[in-house]
């Protein structure tokens, strides 16, 4: 017994391992939960009416009275920030959940039907995917007119294809698994095979994509708002708030804080999604 490097190495403690495995996802979950609470409680915790115009107090820097200062119309930035979380989170969840629902339906049907149905649905998916999402969403949003609902609809049009692709691929993988073949041989009905055998085993990656994607949708929605296509003024919304402040370099607080809000909430979803992915990946889990 000679030579270096033969001694037992330090084994990471239980805490270190748990941190490595769940730490990021935990932080992400905490951030997301925090913002959800804010959105829920905004009417009670916001110190001012978010739309109350007070021109006498316009563009005040952050102070005890106005934690994040006031904007060009003298509205309280902090209250607007809190209220803005409602629109952003709602839009983000609506786009992703509805998009995932529709896309998954398309993907599963394509995978199950195969043949020309599959071909047609997948060509349609490819067609939508050949437009850069934000440009097409922008065109549709412009066509539909300004408004939260219209913007969400525009985003939905470009949002579902990735879920169709992923769910089809997942369903196809599961379809070839021997336990699904066993279910066929046992004489189970297609709906039961899809619902009881394929879906539960295919759902993991979809959950990860949904989680990561809520952040994406929030950024895109805020972007469209920033471009003037999201919400109808004077609704408090983070993207629109950044737009209102983008010329105000001296009054940096007007644009900075709503942007930070977007950054934190999206980061939260990304942490959570990344953590979920590591956790669901059996290769990563065994380490």
């Amino acid at each position: 017994m000679s030579g270096a490097g033969l001694a037992l190495p330090a084994v990471p403690t239980r805490g270190q391992r748990a941190w490595r495995r769940y730490g990021l996802a935990g932080i992400g979950a905490a951030i997301v939960l925090g913002w959800l609470l804010v959105a829920l409680l905004a009417p009670w915790i916001a110190p001012y009416d978010p739309d109350f115009v007070d021109v006498a107090n316009r563009l005040r820097p952050p102070s005890a009275a106005h934690l994040l200062g006031t904007d060009a119309l003298g509205r309280d930035c902090f209250s607007r920030l809190l209220w803005g979380s409602r629109v952003s989170l709602l839009a983000g969840f609506a786009v992703v959940l509805l998009g995932a629902l529709f896309g998954t339906l398309v993907g599963m049907v394509a995978a199950y039907a195969r043949g020309w149905v599959d071909e047609a649905l997948m060509r349609l998916t490819d067609l939508v995917l050949c437009f850069p999402p934000i440009i097409l969403a922008l065109a549709i949003a412009a066509a539909l007119g300004i408004g939260t609902t219209n913007t969400v609809i525009a985003m939905l049009v470009v949002w579902w294809p990735k879920f169709a692709r992923l769910s089809r691929a997942l369903a196809l993988v599961q379809r070839g698994q021997e336990y699904v073949e066993a279910a066929v041989v046992l004489g189970l009905r297609p709906a039961r095979i899809l619902g009881r055998h394929i879906a539960p085993n295919a759902v993991g990656p979809l959950v990860v994509l949904v989680t990561l994607d809520v952040g994406n949708a929030i950024i895109t929605f805020a972007g469209l708002s920033f471009l003037g296509l999201g919400v109808v003024p004077p609704t408090a919304e983070w993207g629109a708030m950044v737009a209102e402040g983008r010329e105000l370099v001296e009054q940096w607080w007007v644009a900075t804080f709503p942007g930070l809000a977007i950054l934190t909430v999206v980061l939260g979803f990304n942490f959570l999604g990344d953590g979920l992915r590591d956790w669901l990946d059996p290769k990563a889990r065994s380490r």
């Binding site: 850069p132 440009i135 066509a143 471009l227 709503p258 980061l267």
Partner: protein, 336 residues
């Protein structure tokens, strides 16, 4: 290989035609009435004027005939006339494209140059502080709203520290180099105008960093995942059993395999850069396609929006084709 390219081109052409159909349908079946938008309230209240106007623009024809006209116009390079600028949309697009191409190219190079080494380092020193740092950089990159990042950079380095030039492609008082390609960096080199080159380069720093931020995150993540995937493959252990140096194994055996999925990211990165360009150019007053898009959208300038959508989706198709072809170069398994 030629057969493959030919059939791919044909497929892309079919998709492009279908894309025009989508664009056409969006433009022609949306609730908003172009009559109102084009003629204004007073004229629209006169039924005779409206009828004439509709006949003039072919709006009284059935949908499929209008699509035929639309296609014929396209073949003649007619994307319609912009309401806002009163100029042909194609002319507008050609005028604004070079600024965007210059910015996006620099951003893309930046994203690759930062993202790939970062991803490699994160994978090689997996679970170390390098990995954690790379993860944070990439997560913050993809989580930052571009328009906000642009504002913060501008406020900090131009407004606050005053070490970066302001918005625009050049100083307001400077003259652009003689127009050859429309790319200021190239044109200034061609003209030997080093002052303009320096000015243009300095103005590119902030916007290209902002534009690259999200893509850096994407590329870092993908490179890291692909490297780890490749590192777990049997051929890596075989390489070790052959007594090859570790550095050689990483660079010559693992990396070529890991780059394959990174290349497939090209199409996605392109779409990313376009989306980012709309925001970045708006904040940096960059006279490119992105700002043109924003202005058209804000003015509900439909012909312009449709034209942009079409041009951009066709270029996306071409980029995806290029990605698939370079994929074939990198991966002998898909070569024919």
């Amino acid at each position: 290989m030629i057969r493959y390219v030919a059939s791919r081109l044909l497929g892309a052409a079919v998709m492009a035609v279908l894309a025009t159909l989508v664009v056409f349908l969006i433009a022609n079946t949306v609730p908003g009435d172009p009559v109102l938008a084009q003629l204004g309230d007073i004229a629209a209240s006169n039924p005779e004027t409206v009828r004439e106007w509709r006949a003039k623009w072919g709006l009284d024809l059935p949908l499929w005939e209008r699509y035929g006209l639309f296609l014929r116009g396209l073949l003649n390079g007619d994307l319609g006339t912009s309401i806002a600028s009163q100029r042909p949309v194609l002319e507008d697009i050609l005028q604004y494209a070079p600024a965007t191409i210059e910015l996006a190219t620099i951003a893309f190079i930046l994203a690759l140059a930062a993202g790939i080494p970062l991803g490699i380092a994160a994978a090689v020193w997996r679970d170390s502080w390098v990995d954690a740092a790379a993860r944070m950089v990439s997560l913050i990159g993809v989580s930052s709203p571009t328009f906000w990042l642009a504002f913060v950079m501008l406020a900090l380095f131009y407004g606050g520290l005053q070490i970066a030039p302001g918005p625009g492609r050049l100083d307001p008082i400077a003259f652009p180099p003689p127009d050859v390609t429309g790319l200021f960096l190239v044109d200034s080199i061609l003209a030997g105008d080093w002052e303009a080159f320096h000015d243009a380069a300095a103005h590119l720093v902030l916007p290209s960093i902002v534009l690259a931020a999200a893509t850096i995150g994407l590329i870092t993540r993908t490179t890291r995942a692909a490297m780890l995937e490749a590192m777990g493959q049997d051929y890596v252990r075989v390489s070790r059993s052959k007594g090859l140096p570790e550095r050689f194994i990483v660079l010559r055996h693992i990396l070529p395999n890991a780059l394959i999925p990174v290349v497939t990211l090209g199409g996605l990165a392109f779409a990313n850069l376009l989306a980012g360009a709309v925001m970045t150019e708006t904040v940096f007053s960059w006279p490119g396609l992105g700002r043109y898009t924003f202005r058209s959208a804000a003015a509900l300038d439909f012909p312009a929006i449709m034209g942009i959508t079409l041009v951009v989706s066709v270029s996306t198709l071409l980029v995806n084709l290029l990605v698939d072809l370079s994929y074939a170069l990198l991966d002998p398994r898909v070569r024919r």
